[in-house]
Symmetry: C2
């Protein structure tokens, strides 16, 4: 699914190693370094219980610049108190010394188990080992090292052709559980070699995250560690801004990279066998459409029906009804792909139900709800709720 | 679990029959009749997609009186359009003729599959069959007839000793899936033979429902048909009001009946093997406490951890954090029964974890969270999320 020929933005280096943080002994520590200081933006978890590295990285990126990203899997350094913050600062300092960079140029990110002290000795030994690896390391190495319950590596990229010049956008992500707006246990690092003014970077990232990572749901749980970072190091020599004629092409590429990563996370949702796109249109407002899409995408009853390949539109319309959005029952239409299962609030009968059941046998399908009230629309991605979801989450940890 | 010696309020009659609405041929139509007009109050689903019988019953009870309750399982008469309302009115009229009562004295209630026309011929034939049964029918007959995915009958009652006199409170409920505040696919009918002023009945019921049925969660889905009715027919000859010295005793009995029924619904939660009480205290406000309790009680990750008997406090504190309530991480204490697993935001270590794991092996336990911020408190009841929940809901319907 993931191939090794992603266009890689210029001026970035990658490395990963086995530092002994994961009990499995698999790669668990990684580094992305830009050859020059990059403009940087970040979007972070809205969970009020925030892991130490999230707090530290937010502070570190406050000046809008960043040159290196350190990340580990196997331990989230969350709910670890003052010692956890000391440990995050320690890791940042070790990386700073190994790279010869100021600590405020280094973002640190952790994912894994909550409430267990970070094994700092692994970082002390592991970080210097990363440095020689920077020569030959690839984005796939980094993607591998940040996996937790992920079953595949998540990398997406685009090359944007701007006539005589070009820029590249690459994203590396992890996440399979605790996936819910806003975000989930997910990390994503987006790199571009375009030159973009710092002031434009943050609103750009926020808007694109809302359309991608904030519109996916696996299990409704928001983690303590979610982080999406965007670095623009300018190594392509191509300046871009909202006023550029090429801005739209660039934004489209960025949007595609984020959506591709978001969909990978849903597809890799713990135990998932299906990916459903929930499209809501004709709502009274975009906010209402989002409420409805979220309500359907997070309903355990809807998600088990998807697993059972059952076009149970009663559960879908019930989820529409309790979303809190404006609804007029007699106007609601529901489609499974192109099959209209409900028209003006009423089921279309057994024959249509059989057609709809065929749609649900596919690995990916769209459920479209038209409220026929206004212009509001929204899109969500969700997975089915399966035996394996229960298995994975009942057996994880202790 | 349910015994046949419930104190039954005076002046009520019960009957149930097999009307052919359930494909299984099991009892599916029932009637409760008061010998005299009762004061009546109702609390209904907040789902904007509301089943026809809910709308009709709300209208019927608008004058604060009711003498009979008709109910069926097997078909919810929801999402059935104008025809659905006609059908509900038809059933009300058939019952009215059979009982010799005005239609506006008859509440009608349905539960079962959504989106399928009500088989009115079953009612036309079945309702007259109920009348002779009223002589010998019991609350258990009614409780049996309204079961859908329920695995046991749900009846609770109390006799309130008021010195020389006494009054009785009896409740009959159904519900096992789509259980979530506010309510779920649940019906509950509460009967008392006390005389209570109509004006006091509605606020009383609302407050007690908030403390019981609105504080349980099985799967986070709110149904289109939820209804709780309270009838007070005065057959005991004992007048009660908020100013009565016995009011508190009566309210306590009512509260116990509702809580007992609510807990039965959680215990019968689809696929559930455990019942957890989530107690939140020390929150900044009662509203914050409720947000936190609901967030924990509905988290798929927390509920699968319960199933796995895993004292995974990281998922609990994450659910606290994303609830939206005020939280200071360093003040959070978490207990499993009497075992303090987290103190001031930090885990108490492996030995305590083993003790906590023992608590989770029980069928019922309490998770208590102290925010140490204020006086706010709330209580929720929830079940675990199991393979059987997925099985039941992936295989139900089509």
């Amino acid at each position: 699914m993931i191939e090794n020929n992603h266009p890689v933005p210029k001026g970035y280096r990658f490395a990963a190693t086995r530092a002994g943080i994961k009990a499995s002994g698999k790669p668990d520590l990684a580094l992305i370094v830009s050859e020059q200081t990059a403009q940087a933006a970040g979007v972070y978890t809205r969970n009020r219980i925030e892991a130490a590295p999230v707090t530290l990285t937010r502070d570190t990126l406050a000046d809008g610049t960043c040159q290196a990203i350190l990340m580990n899997a196997g331990n989230a350094n969350a709910c670890t108190g003052k010692a956890g913050m000391d440990d995050a600062v320690f890791c940042q300092r070790v990386a700073s010394e190994a790279l010869g960079l100021s600590p405020d140029q280094i973002a640190v990110n952790s994912t894994g188990i909550i409430g267990v002290p970070l094994p700092t000795s692994c970082f002390e030994k592991g970080i210097p080992q990363l440095i020689p690896g920077l020569k030959n390391g690839t984005p796939l190495d980094v993607a591998t090292a940040i996996m937790t319950t992920d079953s595949f590596k998540k990398v997406a990229s685009r090359e944007v052709d701007l006539g005589e010049e070009s820029v590249r956008v690459l994203g590396i992500a992890k996440g399979a559980g605790m996936i819910h707006p806003n975000m989930g246990t997910m990390l994503a690092f987006i790199l571009t070699d375009a030159t973009i003014p710092s002031a434009e970077l943050q609103p750009l990232l926020k808007a694109e995250v809302d359309r991608s990572f904030n519109a996916i749901s696996v299990d409704g749980d928001t983690s303590t560690n979610d982080t999406v970072l965007l670095l623009a190091n300018g190594a392509s020599g191509v300046p871009l801004s909202q006023k550029s004629s090429h801005w739209e092409s660039f934004q489209k590429a960025l949007s595609e990279v984020l959506s591709e990563l978001a969909l990978m996370i849903v597809r890799d949702g713990e135990g998932a066998t299906k990916v459903a796109t929930v499209e809501v249109e004709g709502a009274a407002s975009d906010e209402d459409a989002t409420r409805i899409a979220c309500s359907i995408a997070t309903s355990s009853l809807v998600k088990t029906a998807f697993f059972g390949q059952d076009p149970n539109w009663g559960r879908i319309i019930a989820a529409v009804g309790y979303s809190g959005a404006e609804v007029v029952e007699e106007r609601v239409d529901i489609f499974f792909d192109e099959v209209r299962m409900v028209h003006q609030g009423l089921g279309e009968g057994a024959d249509v139900e059989k057609e709809a059941a065929k749609v649900l046998r596919k690995e990916a399908f769209t459920v479209r709800i038209n409220l026929n009230l206004g212009q509001g629309k929204a899109r969500y991605y969700t997975s089915d709720l399966t035996y394996d979801y229960v298995k994975i989450n009942a057996e994880y940890h202790t």
